[in-house]
Symmetry: C2
Subunit: 328 residues, 2 copies
């Protein structure tokens, strides 16, 4: 049994990011789709690393970023994800624990190395990702700690989990345990191409198994195959208890039954790197939600956290988010 | 009796615009509040005209612009407003009739000259207005043609009517006739400073006598004295049947009971002059509404019409709006 109550347990791919600055030509040369996440194999990862300039390594992973952000806001967070028992895996584990997130998933003793994501930041502050899933593919149902999920108010799952086959089973198991314990399940759609890869399953999940949905405009319009934000908004209403739809500089729209909030983006001096914007929005939002705040306030907190992370390089918060949230 | 059915009858100040280009220094020198409409007397109008460069005269007036736009989209529109029997008054009458709008209000035979509005367009495409109400103050209940109002699906009233005292009585009378005939009443809040001048009365109107409300973000937050768009949105829901809230480049948010639409702005190549943006949004929206279109489509049509008028100088449409609306 878990003795301390948890706000959120996040389940996702455990990834170390390698951030490099490059121009659009680099993306073209390596067939990376700008603004999106492309899955790459070990050989392609090797050729990308060989071609690029010096990078900065920092722990990443979408749900992991969200849990680190939640902890930085003062929330109680845990993370489930698979690294290898290699150097990068140790870095990932050290970082997320140092951020105040409980992380107990045992590392894989053999197989592929710890997952890494090459994050290319172009001069327009957009980020483009090439992910080698590595040890993430080893995540399976056995890694889902029943007590941890039962103890958390919300189980937060990233859509990217649908890419490695075993992780999908872990996702399904966590969702069942959460609901069996009267807890809520949140899903981030992760990426429009991820939605394209798994559209039918995601639509079924959202309609039947997800209580709280996070999606940006490209993801939600892809999910419902509609061509305007408003058309997607009309679709999602009633499909899950809460939907938080992010729109970059246009802010976010949050719906719960008949309740709809249209909340502005938090002002940012200069957008340096958009990596982690959606992850940190979810962190702020979940922080508010687990404290019983109103939806407009949850959206505001999400905006504050997202604004912090896009103001610097990297997908983990650097400033004191709990102080920012209180003063903003 | 009016023999032809009407879509909308608009009631407003009948004004001829004089458009000049000037920099922000001109606004400061003449104590004009940027982006807003300031009421000026005849003497101040004279000194402004003396100081400014050559201007372009074109018929204006907020509700009049909306009726001209509605006619340009293919709608059946009428206008009630007061000019003087002078040269500018004849220009106004000729222009609005040429636009296809029925206009029968008899001109004043004496008193102040036809109203004029000095529209200063600054290099950032913002417009700042100084209005001399002139003959508009002569508009009164007798000018409201009962049959015309009874024949129109919607009576559209501009908030600016609250400035000249007699016009307010005309407004009240039109609202009563419309409702007595099972018709709907629409109100545009016109300007945040206009809202400030008449806040209590506007709030009572919106709560009790208005079916369709048009307001931009500054106006609706001023009406409810709240500091965010979302807070205003929560207030306005349920206060009138339909509220269409415009947000410049952020598009518009439209609510009707539990129904909420968040609709993007129509793309514009270059914003030349924002004069008339709100007026033409209302035109497109009312065109859709009187044809039984869904609210999202009404908002889209409003966006198409607004995008046309901000792409050139002046507050009346120049392109074929009905064609634009069909193809957009």
């Amino acid at each position: 049994m878990t003795d301390t109550p948890l706000d959120v347990v996040g389940i996702g791919n455990a990834i170390v990011d390698v951030l490099v600055h490059a121009d659009d030509g680099f993306l073209d040369a390596h067939a990376l789709t700008k603004g999106a996440m492309t899955l790459i194999d070990e050989a392609r990862a090797g050729s990308l690393y060989a071609d690029m300039g010096p990078g900065v390594e920092m722990s990443g992973g979408s749900a992991a970023n969200t849990m680190a952000g939640l902890a930085a806001m003062g929330g109680r967070a845990a993370f489930i994800g698979k690294v290898r028992d290699d150097q990068l895996g140790a870095v990932f584990a050290d970082d997320i624990r140092a951020a105040g997130v409980r992380f107990d998933t045992p590392p894989a003793a053999d197989g592929a190395p710890t997952a890494r994501c090459l994050v290319v930041v172009t001069p327009d502050a957009q980020r483009t990702m090439g992910t080698f899933l590595g040890a993430s593919v080893e995540l399976g149902p056995d890694d889902v700690d029943d007590d941890l999920v039962a103890a958390a108010q919300i189980t937060y799952l990233e859509g990217y989990l649908w890419d490695p086959p075993g992780a999908k089973q872990a996702f399904r198991k966590a969702q069942r345990i959460a609901h069996a314990n009267g807890r809520r399940v949140a899903l981030s759609l992760s990426d429009p191409f991820c939605v394209e890869r798994h559209r039918a399953e995601f639509a079924e999940l959202v309609a039947a198994h997800v209580d709280i949905l996070f999606a940006n405009e490209a993801e939600i319009t892809s999910l419902y195959e509609v061509d305007s934000f408003d058309a997607a908004l009309q679709q999602v209403r009633g499909h899950c208890e809460v939907a938080a739809l992010t729109r970059s500089e246009k802010g976010s729209v949050v719906v719960r039954g008949g309740e709809v909030h249209v909340v502005d983006a938090h002002p940012v001096d200069a957008v340096i790197d958009t990596t982690g914007a959606g992850d940190l929005y979810a962190a702020g939002f979940l922080y508010g939600l687990t404290r019983g705040r109103g939806l407009a306030e949850c959206a505001r907190l999400g905006g504050v956290a997202a604004a912090e992370v896009i103001g610097h390089i990297g997908a983990r918060a650097q400033a004191d988010l709990s102080r920012l949230a209180a003063s903003a």
